[in-house]
Amino acid sequence: MDFLVFQYPMITLQACLDGILLGVLFALIAYGMALQWGVMNIINIAQGDLVILGGYIAYFMYLYGIHPAWGVIVAPVIMYFVGIAIYKLVINKVVDRDLFISILATFGISILFMQLMNFAFGADVVLANSGYGTTMLFDNNVVLPNSKIFSAFISIVFAVCLVIYMKKSKLGRAIRATAQNARAAKILGVNTEKVYAATFGINAALCGVAGALISITFTIHPYMGLPYTIRSFMIVIVAGLGNLPGVAMSGMGLGVFEEFADYILGTEFRIGSVFLLLVLILVYRRFKLSRKREYLK
């Protein structure tokens, strides 16, 4: 236990800011997960691996001399088609099935992606340098890498665009209608098959953006996807489906929680504390549900 974080107010501020910037990025990934969970009733275990794949796209652009920030444009386009392909090959066969089947299927996709990325890109840890410099605040006591600010900003831009798109566009309305009641939407002439494919594609595209941002801010590695899946799963569990402000808030909350866990318990418990929180939330939810059921009785 280390309570340095409370002794130096600047460290507290630093932890909060780091957490919020990180949380916005998590929220973007979680939003994609919430979308396809809500529309298709699929929990995508391969979410984190799609993120890492997006990261590799930005990394390869960087290797070939293109600034990795362009990855936030290129990665979603490529990943959209990757998403459609995964849907056509696997997901459309499990979309109406039990949730358990879809978890198994996406778990399989996750393992396949990890191994393919390892095979194709190698097992080295890589990163893309943005060269964005650093913002210093409060007499150099609080430091914010501009790459983190950039990724939070881009995440917000993409989230806002997506919300507008879902509200205004025809496809967006069709997606929302399908989420509410797939059968009714079908009767009213919505091509749900197309809606599902587009939803999966949009989710993959969001993962692509997040991956590109992660390659700029942190590091990527073929086997680093799972923590991102877990985080987004948790954010969605807390926020509920179809609740964007909730996803954003719980994303930032998780980011700040992780930073404080890091300072207080130590870096080794950072990911562990996320898992612990997940268990606590699931237990709490179950407890609440069982109370509801008692009323019903």
Binding site: N118, V143, T219, P227, T267
Partner: protein, 412 residues
């Protein structure tokens, strides 16, 4: 019908028996000495696994083309059976079992990484198969009393204690304040133990002692503490991931620390790919091509590096060099034992005392090489921004003077 089945199973049993009995004579076939190795060709260690394999192959070709191994007045050539252990310790142990009991291999080369060597060592020990390994540095390998395990490299606890001693020396012999962050794996934790020993020896104080998770990609919290508490030395070890994350975030957060000591800088290609961000980082290495050790097969480090690059198209990391050295040790031991008897070869290995291009090799009773110090190099950049690793310690091989303290980010 039933009789047919019985005959069929009898014949297939015979075939299996015959094929395994042929294989069990496979240790020396004709003029070939067959060694076995489980190597990570896929999975998370695949890059270093390939470096290891390239090192082995390079030495096999060189020894074979320069006359091979002379035992009992006859000349033999080396050959290696490889299996892919998928970077998985369980798989590695199975493959070692298979190499020994099915393929009949009687001499083994090590896999990549301490973890996999730990998985294989009990198997080779059980069968009394001598294993020369070049990529398992964890101290725990050498404290178990293994009799058939020999490592050409220096143990992990010696990686960075030179850095602490140097820091104390530069501080006028006075103790220093140390901040450290280590990944939670066998190797990094051994490096940590080495630092703890060095701190105790010199009376230095450890003010930050963070453990990094396996999924590490953010160590901002540690660095914020470093910024506030201003230690004299920051030590980081967490394989390539740790080195890259540290270098990126130290540069981004402009963390000023007089000395930064790390492991795995060359594997992370710091000087080539991260240039000025990695400038002044001090790195522990088992080997550097500029060292002046010599042998008859590869001449010296520079020649080895040039030959290696010609064959494989890249500068050899120390993982390749030490792997090549393992074959030189085997050749020497076979010739001194003048026999293929496993016990005699084992005794000959234990009595090894030789110099290779990679360094002097002499084994302690635990199996670790005690005759080869670690080297420290520092990433140094010229005005044009191109960076290079230059050896700064031990002084005997230093090609540049250590820059200390590291200039502040605001002055660069």
């Amino acid at each position: 019908m039933r009789l047919n089945k019985i005959i069929l199973s009898f014949v297939s049993a015979l075939v299996i028996l015959f094929s395994t009995s042929v294989a069990s004579f496979a240790k020396v076939v004709g003029d070939k000495i067959i060694l076995g190795a489980a190597i990570s060709l896929t999975g998370k260690y695949s890059s270093n696994g390939v470096h290891t394999q390239n090192g082995y192959n390079m030495a096999v070709d060189r020894i074979n083309s320069m006359g091979g191994v002379k035992v009992g007045g006859k000349t033999y050539k080396f050959d290696i059976i490889y299996y892919d252990d998928e970077s998985n310790p369980k798989r590695a142990a199975q493959l070692a079992e298979r190499l020994i009991s099915q393929d009949g291999v009687e001499f083994m080369l090590g896999p990549y990484s301490s973890g996999l060597t730990k998985a294989i060592a009990p198997v080779t020990e059980k069968y009394g198969v001598p294993m020369v390994e070049a990529n398992g540095a964890s101290r725990s390998l050498f404290t178990k009393g293994y009799k058939y395990l020999f490592a050409v490299l220096a143990p992990a606890n010696l990686y960075l204690d030179v850095a602490i001693e140097t820091a104390v020396e530069l501080n006028g012999g006075k103790p220093v304040r140390i901040a450290q962050a280590f990944e939670q794996d066998a190797f990094s934790q051994d490096v940590r133990l080495g630092i703890l020993d060095a701190a105790e020896r010199t009376g230095s104080k450890i003010i930050i002692d963070d453990k990094l998770p396996k999924e590490l990609n953010d160590m901002a919290a540690t660095l914020v503490k470093v910024k506030q508490m201003k230690p004299d030395v920051l030590v980081v070890s967490g394989h390539t991931k740790g080195a890259l994350t540290a270098i990126r975030q130290i540069a981004e957060m402009k963390v000023d620390v007089p000395m930064l000591a790390m492991t795995h800088c060359d594997a992370a290609k710091l000087s080539k790919q991260h240039g000025k961000n990695s400038q002044y980082a001090l790195c522990a290495s088992q080997w550097h091509k500029s060292l002046t050790y010599k042998d008859d097969f590869f001449k010296d480090g520079m020649t080895y590096a040039a030959d290696f690059e010609k064959e494989f198209g890249y500068d050899p990391p120390y993982q390749s060099a030490e792997s090549s050295a393992a074959l030189l040790v085997f050749k020497d031991a076979f010739e001194r034992a003048n026999s293929f008897d496993q016990k005699k070869v084992r005794d000959a290995l234990a009595a090894t005392n030789m110099q290779t291009f990679y360094g002097n090799i002499k084994f302690a009773p635990g199996g670790q090489n005690v005759d080869k110090p670690m080297v420290l190099f520092q990433v140094m950049c010229d005005a044009s921004g191109s960076c290079e690793n230059k050896v700064v310690a031990p002084l005997k091989w230093a090609s540049a003077k250590l820059i200390h303290p590291i200039p502040k980010w605001s002055e660069r």
